[in-house]
């Protein structure tokens, strides 16, 4: 069993937790992910590592409440346990040799973009951050990003905070102005990453996207997380989760990501209803 050491609500739909998992904490690196189960009969869900403390033996996760499992996880509190927490899985972010990087995060993806930005800062790289949200009340990790960024852009779709527009607006401006990056690293909704990759492609800037497809075992056994990258089939769990963004077939990934959307919604409603009954 794995204990919840801390819990913090970052916005109404996004929660941060630290889980006591010393084996995972000892090895985790930015860009890797874990798979957890919340209940003994529950599904396995992948979550990218949002941070770790090797001495305390804890791993930080940040998740958006989207389905039954994340709803159930959000109902857990400090001191509660979850039965399974396995990792670190996947290949870590390749940061070696990068000196000037633009990190582009969207929504809850910012939780995963942050440790990448921090790792880059630690190795002495100059970090430009562009983070975007739908509106002000969904903004997370602003101060943390500012702390590691030389240049910082905050965007909201509705203009309720920072600049109005999506993350591609400042990215395009910088690229057009002749700004040179060793790499652009983007983590967020698939549709956002698709447009970020499209924006950088004409400039030939190396662009890395972190993919989070539907997974089951996370060890390469099932192939449920397959993607088409450069015309070849890749498994996000063992070949990724990060890939060359200019080679990813995003339309296919978007379609596959919706395979169980109806089921997810039903599961979440069921879990919410159960919880409401308990409260009553």
């Amino acid at each position: 069993m794995y204990s919840i050491i801390s819990k913090k609500s970052l916005n109404p739909t996004v929660t941060q937790m630290e889980i006591y998992a010393p084996f995972v904490a000892k090895k985790a690196l930015a860009g890797q992910f874990v798979i957890l189960r919340v209940a003994e009969d529950g599904e396995r869900i992948p979550l990218t590592v949002a941070g770790y403390d090797r001495e305390k033996g804890t791993v930080k996760i940040i998740f958006q409440i989207v389905g039954g499992t994340t709803e159930l996880l959000n109902q857990k509190n400090v001191g509660d346990t979850i039965p399974d927490f396995v990792g670190p899985l996947g290949r870590p972010t390749h940061t070696a040799g990068l000196k000037k990087v633009c990190v582009v995060g969207g929504g809850v993806g910012c939780a995963i973009a942050l440790p990448v930005a921090q790792a880059l800062k630690e190795q002495g790289a100059e970090v430009t951050s562009v983070i975007g949200f739908r509106s002000k009340d969904l903004v997370i990790l602003e101060e943390e990003f500012k702390a590691v960024s030389t240049v910082f852009h905050m965007m909201t779709d509705d203009g309720s905070y920072g600049r109005q527009g999506n993350v591609c607006v400042p990215l395009n401006e910088m690229l057009e102005a002749g700004e040179q990056f060793d790499a652009v690293i983007t983590i967020g909704p698939l549709i956002m990453m698709k447009f970020v990759c499209a924006a950088t492609k004409p400039y030939g800037v190396k662009t890395v996207a972190s993919m989070n497809p539907i997974m089951i075992d996370g060890t390469g056994m099932c192939g449920g997380c397959r993607l088409t990258v450069g015309g070849k089939m890749k498994f996000a769990c063992v070949d990724g989760p990060e890939f060359d963004g200019h080679e990813i077939d995003f339309d296919e990934a978007i379609s596959r990501s919706r395979a169980y959307a109806d089921f997810e919604n039903r599961e979440r409603e069921k879990t919410c209803n159960l919880f409401k009954k308990e409260v009553q």
Partner: protein, 475 residues
């Protein structure tokens, strides 16, 4: 006085659930012999001098001896004889391809029209009888103080763990998933191998002192080198199983509704998606094509049938060439699975909508296949299939399950630079399972590519012996 031998040319049939009933439930298909039937069947063994069955068994169970005990009605004695050589008798009695192993060589089955002794059915009976009647737990051997790590809790790992524990080693099994058993729990369905039986075998190992650590992906969380150098394991056995599922590389394989057999079976078996209240979704197709002809294909097809679909097995060779166990093929046919043989998929067709926002977008709508004919036998003696030009046709399906085998998992290779692999990625081993790293052994699918449960057990057994010798010589 009853006759000493039962000279009936045919085996006692295996009682089974009615096909039309069982294809709608997930309970075990074969129901097992009664004690009377088992004794009657055991008397068909004539204790022949050559004992060809023993040599044909990958773990060399002393078959005539255990059968003689069954004939006497001393079922526990029979069990003790089997478990000297096999750690998982209740499993093997159910999933071994006996027709190509022990029973394939049985003297009683040589003459035309005669069937071998039902060795597998007797093994199953003996193991089930023991599990139902004997409550004594196995007693752990006194520890010899040496630690051995096992990577993977499938048939190879469990066998190796059991044999070493019996010799007094302190054995820890590391399993990547949340439950022990490997392919026995994620792959083979409940109706063929009830999970309670696997759990019982795992519990027996725990009673022998074997520790099982789940949620441990060796390579990532602890490397092989660290197991040896930091955690004090004298030797490591890798039984990490087969790897990444293969696809055909035809158009449409990324459509929604296309599964690898591993994914489909993992959702159903490990994650219990076959139960209506499961938290893991699975597509319950109306019409499903399963591509491939092995045991895994039969398992996937029969699972899909139980989830309510019309199911087609699509296989490019003919009936004779189907690699699955005969019994699985017969059971599948009885349950109403349609066999489209000499048929090969050319592409998977998508639903017609081109609007990505339409929920119907990007799902499977059919599978286009081409008819095949068998050519002349090649060097290996197998007749290779050739396409019949212009014979394409479409099977309208809403789900496709690819069951084409696996290629080795790169995870251990990537995290263990000194571990030598073969050209296609299997871990390189000698005949005892020894790898390129001292004290590290490997067996089962990780070394051979996809094979059978019993072959993995055989490899686990051989490596257990080699590890024992290695550690004793090192002292």
């Amino acid at each position: 006085m009853a006759a000493k031998f039962n000279m009936s040319p045919l085996k006692n049939p295996m009682p089974a659930q009615d096909p039309e009933v069982r294809n709608g439930n997930f309970q075990e298909v074969a129901l097992g012999y009664t004690a009377e039937t088992a004794i009657d069947e055991a008397k068909r063994c004539i204790s022949c001098k050559n004992r060809p069955c023993v040599a044909a068994c990958p773990v060399n169970i002393q078959i005539p001896e255990f059968i003689a005990k069954v004939a006497e009605g001393d079922f526990e004695a029979a069990y003790q004889i089997i478990t000297k050589d096999s750690s998982l008798p209740a499993v093997c009695g159910r999933v071994c391809p006996q027709e190509t192993q022990c029973e394939g060589k049985c003297t009683r089955g040589i003459k035309a029209g005669c069937e071998a002794v039902g060795i597998g059915r007797l093994e199953r009976f003996v193991a089930d009888w023991h599990n139902a009647n004997i409550v004594d737990e196995p007693v752990p051997a006194p520890t010899n103080g040496y630690k051995v790590a096992i990577v993977g809790s499938g048939p190879a790992g469990l066998t190796c763990a059991g044999d070493l524990a019996k010799l007094g080693y302190e054995v820890t099994v590391f399993e990547a998933l949340h439950v022990a058993g490997g392919v026995l729990v994620y792959g083979i369905p409940e109706f063929r191998l009830p999970k309670a039986i696997v759990q019982k075998e795992v519990d027996n190992l725990k009673a022998l002192g074997v520790k099982i650590e789940t949620n441990m992906v060796i390579g990532r969380v602890i490397t092989i080198e660290e197991l040896k150098n930091e955690y004090g394991f004298e030797a490591v056995f890798i039984g990490s199983g087969a790897g990444l599922p293969k696809f055909m590389n035809i158009p449409g394989e990324s459509l929604k509704g296309v599964y690898s057999a591993n994914e489909f079976l993992t959702r159903s078996n490990l994650m219990k998606a076959y139960q209506t209240d499961s938290h893991t979704p699975i597509q319950r197709g109306k019409c499903v094509a399963v591509v491939g002809g092995g045991n895994v294909a039969m398992d996937a097809a029969r699972t899909a049938k139980r989830l309510g679909a019309e199911v087609h097995i699509v296989y490019r060779r003919g009936e004779e060439e189907l690699p699955a166990r005969r019994e699985e093929i017969e059971h599948a046919k009885e349950e109403g699975i349609i066999f489209d043989l000499l048929t090969n998929p050319t592409r998977i067709l998508a639903t017609e909508t081109e609007n990505p926002r339409d929920p119907a977008y990007g799902w499977v709508a059919g599978i286009e296949c081409i008819r095949m004919e068998l050519g002349e036998p090649d060097e290996s003696g197998r007749r290779s299939p050739k396409e019949i030009v212009g014979s394409e046709f479409v099977i309208p399906v809403d789900c496709v399950i690819m069951s084409l085998g696996t290629s080795p998992n790169p995870l251990l290779k990537d995290t263990t630079p000194d571990l030598q692999t073969l050209r296609r990625g299997e871990i390189a081993v000698d005949e005892t399972g020894k790898t390129s790293i001292e004290g590290v052994y490997c067996g089962g699918d990780a070394a051979t590519g996809a094979a059978t449960v019993i072959k993995a057990m055989g490899a686990g057994k051989i490596s257990a012996k080699a590890i024992h010798e290695y550690i004793q010589n090192k002292k």
